[in-house]
Amino acid sequence: MDFIDYYKILELDKSASQADIKKAYRKLARKYHPDLNPNDKSAQAKFQQINEANEVLSDPENRKKYDEYGKDWKHADQFEQAKQQRPQGGGGFGGFGGGQQQYSGNFEDDRFSDFFEEMFGGRAGGGAGRGRATHFKGQDFNAELQLNLKDIYTSQKQTITVNGKNIRLTIPAGVENGQTIKIKGHGGPGVQGGPKGDLLITFNILNNTNFKREKENLYATVDLDFYTALLGGEITVDTFTGKVKLAVKPETQSGTKVKLKGKGFPKYKKEDQFGDLYITYQIKMPTNLSAKEKELFQELQKLRS
């Protein structure tokens, strides 16, 4: 367990006054408060360090102990015994008297560092801000789930682990990239008999297919050879669920769009309804023409002019 320099965390030197500590704490709390830094885990970690540093340094008694033992904090008990100054009960390293300002936040984990727990014996109660931290509901937990586009074509059951707990959930087909779903009651415990918080899962959908997806519609570009485009014919195209045969009209132009009804993606929470697949033809011109082919094309050209 490493020594933590609380002064450094609050960007202060050891001679800082209580007013300086308060000012520095307020300034840094405004910068790193989790409510102002959504989805920023580094800001959250920094904010917890700042809270911890403030809890120690803003209390003169704890600050004195911290200053006195500093890097030798591991031997603090022995020093205390030697000096025979250990007060009864909750004194010494027994924790905080409370009363300092402590900012609260919506954390996934508000534990203090091992260093803090070891030195001060755990966090004192009521540290969430001037006694106003009575909450009905527990904290909301945030999680991110990465899935492939193919995985969400049908609804599926998955088990995820959040804070050591296995949670079985059904992911509805057609869920959107970046969409967040709320699972009620799987967050942190409520306070004073309040309900548990919620689990918020954000989906990160990786599209490693040849289809572009926009909600329930899919888009794909299909190469069409020159002769089929000109004379018409039948081609086989890939859809999300397999191959289908498609009739191509004669004289089809490059960029022509064809809609395959119902061959798109399932609609979110309406699994029996599907979007459409839009195919754009890209005509491939013949290359490396032989002399004979060139001659025939020139003849065709003459017929057209």
Binding site: R26, A29, R30, H33, D35, L36, P38, N39, Q101, Y103, S104, G105, N106, G129, R130, G131, R132, T134, H135, F136, K137, D140, N177, G178, N204, I205, L206, N207, N208
Partner: protein, 96 residues
């Protein structure tokens, strides 16, 4: 509207030790919706996490109402940009 999903503003004031004017000011600024049922004012339970956030910013960080409005707008933009960033990163994965 299901009453079980509503929390009386009076109860909020007691539990969170906030002044009623704070809740009313949030409502006036469009930051929190107050629902009135038979002359009693309520807040929907889904708005509680937003209310808690605004309370923390106001009372803990001493941010006034105008500041809260500005923060809400900026946070909306941050979230929008984060979402767009995620989508662009996913698209980029296709070419990597």
């Amino acid at each position: 509207m299901n009453l079980e999903e509503l929390i009386a503003t009076e109860e909020l004031c007691t539990k969170y030790r906030v002044e009623h004017t704070f809740i009313r000011n949030l409502n006036d600024s469009g930051l929190l919706e107050i629902i009135t049922v038979e002359k009693t004012e309520y807040v929907h339970c889904d708005s509680i996490s937003d209310f808690e956030k605004l309370r923390r910013l106001h009372y803990d960080l001493h941010i006034n109402l105008e500041g809260l409005e500005a923060i809400e707008n900026l946070l909306r933009q941050v979230k929008k940009l984060q979402k767009s960033n995620l989508q662009l990163r996913n698209r980029l994965n296709l070419y990597e």
